[in-house]
Amino acid sequence: MADTSTSLPTRPAHAPDVDRDRRSAPRLWPRFAVLGLVAVAAVVGVLVWNIPSTPGSRGFWLAVEMRFTTVATILIVACCQAVATVLFHTATNNRILTPSIMGLEAVYVVIQTALVFFFGGAAAAATDGLAKVAIQSLLMVGFATVLYTWLFSGRRGNLHVMLLVGVVLGVGFGSLSSFMQRLLTPSEFDVLSARLFGNLSMSNEAYLPWAALVIAIALGVVWRRRHHLDVIALGRDTATNLGLRYKREVTVLLILTSVLISISTTLVGPMTFFGFIVATLAYQLTGSSQHRHVLPFAFLLSVVTLLGGYFVLRHVFYAAGLLSVIIEFAGGLFFIVHLLRKGAL
């Protein structure tokens, strides 16, 4: 009898516990709502602001349609960078890395440079099209997949060795690119450098639906694994103890990361620092350890930053091309301030 009487009072105590668990989710809703609204406002703003034709007329819709390409590109890039960086942090169990450490962007640069170097600037422009973009993405993903599966599987598989090899290869590709760039004629170099700077308003329209399709599939895979991701973030030993095949899961994550980064890079060129900022802010602003919170939040932040920045630059400063430069600068400052205030990573 003594047993039942002691266990009884603890029973009702379970109810508030469950409530408290559930309460942590609604607490995030205001933040999601505000950020979502700003994101929608940014999309609408970029689409319709400052169009000379009267709203509703044919010319108006034509202008909106043209701007839609830019918005779609930015949405895709925002999604790729945010999700890829969070996945990379989870896979490497380290939050101060960026996926560019894997040398994927260096692969992109070396492909572009080699194209101009061997076939000339005219050839590089003439071969622009879906096929080239697809081949480029496939090469980048292929490079990453071979690297990850080769270095990370088997007995000696070690994440740090793999990252180091990625860094070394990235530097190697970078040197190879700058060597070839030295030997280009100034006009060809001009053609090349226009392609190597991240430029959001210069993307390939025909590629967008395909990019969207690939991303939708990738996101589907990520969302189905969201609980696995939470466990992977606890590190190798704990994840193994909880019954995940750690190496397999991490390899899948790294390949997903490289798919997303390669799409973003082929669309608008390298963006080294952006995903890092967005992911870090998402961790700190959600305060959640769950990917089902962090991933959508990072995506929204990413949309707001990119589209908001694009809007301000285009309609306030009339300098849309500088966006990536400004984002890296302002984002870097904000990041450092945030870091110093918090005092820890």
């Binding site: 516990d17 668990d21 007995r155 939470d230 973030a233 030993d237 103890n241 019954g243």
Partner: protein
């Protein structure tokens, strides 16, 4: 029952463990003792499939750990390492909730919450359950980790130095809880432990390792002798038998 046959672990030319062939009886508490570098943790992590043995096979409750799906093993055996560090910021309750992952794949049911509540209560963490791990002392964090492993509700529990960082009161409480888990819930518990007297007071079975080999194995009453302990730990030891269990005195 846990069986190891012909298990070795080598790094380069150095053999740190084995060859070991032994079995750990099912039920009760088995303590792994021995000097630093004797291979206790290596043996434990090999059983818990966190370290791959160079040769040999291990079975837990009839499951060969290399052939059984990891997910199934996670519902048979759980392991806690000595050092744990997480990049994500978790509350105690969130951490303990992860222990239910092998059962619920991340969506906690009412049943899961019941297990989490029990584990939290079991380790006296009720007041701390909504605190973040980085706001806890080392001993409180250690209890939270053990609570996670208990919430996993496996027949076999492997713990690497669970008394690390615990004060007298909590060390005794932890050992009592483990004893209770073994007696009332029929768990098989294997712990690596430094304090030979805790092993003597609470374990059913002691395995003493030296230089990667089993030096002695048996119930505490057999192992707690001056000659055995001095041989294993290479330190002068006096064994006193004037209490409920033999105590080793080796302090000066």
């Amino acid at each position: 029952m846990i069986t190891l046959s012909d298990v070795t672990k080598t790094y380069g030319d150095t053999t740190v463990l084995g060859p070991l062939t032994l079995s750990v009886p099912g039920g009760g508490i088995t303590a792994l003792v021995g000097p630093n570098g004797a291979g206790k943790s290596t043996m434990l992590t090999i059983i818990g499939r966190l370290t791959e043995p160079t040769t040999g096979t291990v079975t837990i409750g009839g499951h060969d750990i290399t052939r059984t799906p990891s997910r199934e093993l996670a519902r048979t055996a759980s392991i806690l390492r000595q050092e744990n560090h997480f990049v994500t910021r978790l509350t105690v309750r969130e951490l303990v909730g992860f222990g239910r992952f092998p059962h619920s794949r991340g969506r906690l049911t009412r049943e899961d919450h019941r297990h989490v509540d029990q584990a939290i209560e079991f380790l006296d963490l009720g007041e701390l359950e909504h605190r973040y791990l980085d706001q806890l002392s080392g001993g409180q964090r250690q209890r939270a980790y053990v609570a996670m492993v208990l919430a996993q509700d496996t027949d076999y529990i492997l713990l690497d130095e669970p008394l690390n960082n615990l004060d007298m009161r909590h060390a005794v409480a932890m050992m009592k809880q483990l004893r209770k888990a073994a007696d009332e819930l029929g768990k098989t518990i294997v712990i690596v432990i430094h304090d030979i007297n805790f092993a003597s007071a609470y374990a059913d079975h002691i395995i003493a390792l030296t230089r990667g080999r089993v030096a002695q194995a048996g119930p505490p009453s057999e192992l707690m002798t001056r000659s055995t302990l001095e041989e294993v730990f290479e330190t002068p030891v006096e064994v006193r038998r004037d209490g409920p269990h033999p105590l080793a005195v080796y302090y000066r």
